[in-house]
Amino acid sequence: MLAFYGKQFSSRLLLGTARYPSPTIMQEAIRASGAEIVTVSLRRESAGGRIGNAFWDLIRELNVAVLPNTAGCHTVQEAVTTAQLARELFGTPWVKLEVIGDNETLQPDPIGLVEAAGILIKDGFDVFPYCTEDLTVALRLREIGCQVIMPWAAPIGSARGITNRDALKLMRARLPDVILVVDAGLGAPSHAAEALELGYDAVLLNTAVAKARDPVNMAKAFRHAVDAGRIAYEAGLMGPRDFASPSTPVVGTPFWHAVS
């Protein structure tokens, strides 16, 4: 079991709700993934529109926890106000905090992120900050009270997988008491398995499932990969070696040292 701010979950896969071919496929993919937490966002509603209601009904049918994000926010003020709107709208203190610093890479602004996280924690929020693999930023986030930290593997939607494995390993080693989630940039189930093998508690992804040719089966594949990665981590992976080490016993080899 895994606890996010005191709530227990058995799935280690958090899934986004955007970019699916249809609402029905989104629902089926979420069910197939086994995810118990899904990310959502909030946007302006047009006069007379009921788009938000239709989407929200679909999510409620799934009986999952929702993690609202502050996607698209570029300033501390925007992110804080968006988080407060999300709390009002979804009735949860949880927020996936995004403060974007660069439009090309959607790289988080670490300075704005730490500042916004501090304001929100004081306001009673449970903050899930989306950050880079920078250890110092993660240490600051823990210092101000984040129990969960979510470093990227690679830029959002890039499908590149873990691009800075050493930094993610270091973060895991230095923050053993924090729930660490690899968020963004995962493209294949093997990427998710690698994150879990490194000791990360969970992964959060969206595009890799939503944009697959068959999102429902891809969701299933990620579910198995996450399980495999976690079991492998718990089983204890052997370390790499510089030289070969025979797996077949040498003792008793026929013709061993035979003289020709």
Partner: protein, 65 residues
Amino acid sequence: MLVMLNGERVEIAARNLTALLSEKDYEHTNLAIAVNQRVVPRTAWSDTTLNSGDQIEIITPRQGG
């Protein structure tokens, strides 16, 4: 009076948020509202007086990653 509603300048007759939701056909919708970048809780909608030039954001759930 003129206000900014979801980024657009519009003329409204309503003098509070509850009346605005009725005027603009937002009733029975799952909403959150901010006025001038301050969130207004649902319980305060009818007591929140609107003024000319107010920036009103009316927000609903959407898909997200």
